[in-house]
């Protein structure tokens, strides 16, 4: 996912939010990961918005994608220039209405924005984990979110919402904790990466690992593999856009010049834009986290992990009502993948709705302001909320 963080056009915002942490799994009570490795202690960084109601029936968990974090909406301080990454969707009266719902978003395991990851201190050495950090899966990421909810005393989620790798976590939630999840909103996501998606992730990882500063992941005390990470980001960024979006946004326009320079400077606007995106990304993201999170996404395979290679079997115990949205120009997680997922859900008789939104902006469409997406999510949540209340 890319960054489109701009203040809300109408100035509507959930206001000030605070990043909190919760630490658990202190040795010897480490959690056992899907790989069999043990990990602890684990710190989770999370933020909450809105107010929880008396019977705790209005809780929505948002799962972020590759480069997101717990800061989904609002501002950290009064002079904070930028809101959270999904401020257009989450806030008072918005698609996910913080006047009605209590929203939680936490940074993923393996991340670098406050939750334990490769840049955290390894208790065995007193130094950052680096590549000694165990490979984690989407299942492990969700397990840590579950620990957080247990800590907060939340036993039922009105909805779990996420796009892209966030959507994978939503699927994992609906499968692993069927009794806890009343509804699942899946945006621009898939039950498993295509070879194409794995390829782009692998190119990004190779760019990082071949950076001279990478030093087998042990770079925290010196120069960082910034060039590799920036390259990985540039490749990734292209996959989040579309031919049409790039044609509209850049075409073949030149950057700050009228003629070609006949050297390897950034002549085209698109080159300059990608370089800028790359350089900005390295300021806030850890290269090792990029390796770990993309690996978790590549490993994710619902059928293999939950259904003896059958997605129909994997979905058999889901109780959540499901809303799936895909976007026409998304070539990273194309519509056919959403349709396949919906097919397996139909075979299980699940309550599933699916809409393919016409959009030119590629995979990133789910992050951009989109009236249709916001309205559908808003009304779907309203429906689920009413049906949950009536079922009591």
């Amino acid at each position: 996912m890319s960054e489109y963080i701009e203040p809300d056009r109408d100035g509507i915002s959930v206001g000030q939010v605070e990043k909190k942490i919760h630490t658990f799994a202190e040795p010897p009570l480490e959690i056992v990961l899907e790989s069999g490795a043990r990990l602890g202690p684990i710190t989770v960084a999370y933020e909450t918005m809105g107010a929880i109601n008396a019977d705790k029936s209005n809780v929505i968990l948002i799962a972020h994608a590759l480069s997101g974090d717990s800061h989904v909406a609002g501002y950290y301080s009064e002079d904070d220039p930028k809101p959270g990454w999904w401020d257009t969707m989450v806030g008072p009266g918005k698609g996910i209405d913080t006047n009605k719902y209590f929203v939680i978003c936490s940074n993923v395991l393996g991340g670098c924005m406050g939750t334990t990851g490769p840049s955290s201190e390894n208790p065995a050495t007193g130094r950052p984990y680096g590549l000694a950090f165990p490979v984690v899966t989407i299942g492990d990421i969700v397990k840590v979110q579950k620990e957080l909810l247990d800590h907060l005393g939340i036993a039922k989620l009105l909805a779990v919402v996420g796009g892209s790798i966030g959507g994978m976590q939503v699927i994992e939630w609906a499968i692993s904790y069927p009794e806890m999840v009343a509804s699942a909103i899946l945006l621009a996501t898939t039950t498993r990466h295509s070879a194409l998606a794995i390829s782009f992730n692998e190119i990004g990882r190779q760019a990082i690992m071949s950076d001279p500063n990478f030093n087998k992941g042990d770079y925290y005390s010196g120069a960082k593999p910034d060039i590799g990470l920036a390259l990985a980001r540039m490749v990734g960024h292209v996959t989040y856009l579309s031919d049409e979006a790039m044609r509209d946004k850049f075409g073949r326009r030149l950057q700050d010049r009228d003629n070609l320079s006949f050297d390897f400077d950034a002549n085209f606007q698109v080159e300059s834009y990608l370089r800028y995106q790359g350089s900005k990304f390295v300021e806030r993201f850890d290269a090792n986290s990029f390796l770990y999170i993309t690996k978790a996404a590549d490993y994710f395979d619902v059928g293999r992990q939950h259904g003896h290679d059958s997605e129909v079997e994997a979905f058999a115990n889901i109780k959540a009502k499901i809303l799936t949205i895909s976007f026409t120009s998304d070539w990273l997680y194309p519509t056919y993948q959403s349709r396949d997922m919906v097919k397996a859900m139909k075979k299980n008789g699940l309550d599933v709705s699916f809409c393919e939104i016409e959009a030119t902006c590629g995979h990133d469409a789910f992050l951009l302001p989109n009236e249709r997406q916001s309205t559908m999510i808003n009304r779907f949540l309203k429906r689920v909320s009413e049906e949950e209340t009536n079922a009591l």
Partner: protein
């Protein structure tokens, strides 16, 4: 609600499972959910209409009815509704067979092409008929199948199914109101509405 949908709604038993093919903005399903506690799902190809369904609290899948219907298990629904769409389907026989697999009963409504004014248009003017129900020219009509009430009765018989109910109607006021035609329906009705099941009624 459209008059044919009012009749269809009156045929649905409370608490049943309904699949509505070409559900539009989910008007019928929304009504059935509220009035008869039906658990329903719709299939609709238009993104705008799908959005409306979801906004109306109706479960819906965006897609082509002839493709989407295959994924459901046998007898997944008590009723499958195909209202005013049969005449637009490329392979109606295969579709109906498939509908009878996923639904215990199917309800089909279609414009009756042997309505007297249509007959007269061909007889006296020699042009492909046009009227309020069939407002298209021959070259842009989505209605590629010419069906009459008698055709459909014969079709059901030949496919080894049975008609459980039949109501033939004549509608007016933008299809919102109408009346039931009992006398010479093939000549006097603008629409036929049929409830059909397999011979064994799908209960086995």
């Amino acid at each position: 609600m459209r008059y044919d949908l009012q009749i269809i709604a009156s045929w649905i038993e409370p608490d049943s499972r309904v699949l509505d093919l070409g559900c539009g903005e989910g008007e019928l399903l929304s009504f059935l959910k509220k009035e008869k506690r039906v658990s329903g799902t719709g299939i609709e190809s238009s993104e705008a209409k799908v959005t409306k369904c979801i906004e109306n609290g109706v479960q819906v899948l965006q897609g082509d009815i002839t493709e989407e219907v295959h994924d459901y298990p046998d007898n997944a629904f008590d009723y499958v509704i195909l209202s005013q769409t049969l005449q637009q389907v490329l392979e109606p026989d295969l579709l109906i067979k498939e509908l009878l697999r996923v639904g215990k009963k199917i309800i089909v409504s279609f414009p009756n092409f042997s309505y007297w004014s249509i007959r007269l248009q061909i007889l006296f003017f020699g042009y492909a008929p046009k009227n309020r129900q069939l407002p298209y020219e021959w070259y842009n009509t989505p209605n590629i199948r010419i069906i009459t009430i008698k055709d459909f009765r014969r079709f059901v018989k030949e496919t080894g199914c049975k008609v459980i109910r039949e109501v033939d109607i004549n509608t007016h006021s933008d299809n919102l109101q109408g009346n039931i035609i009992n006398f010479l329906p093939n000549l006097r009705a603008t629409y036929g509405i049929f409830m059909v099941s397999r011979r064994n009624n799908g209960e086995s």
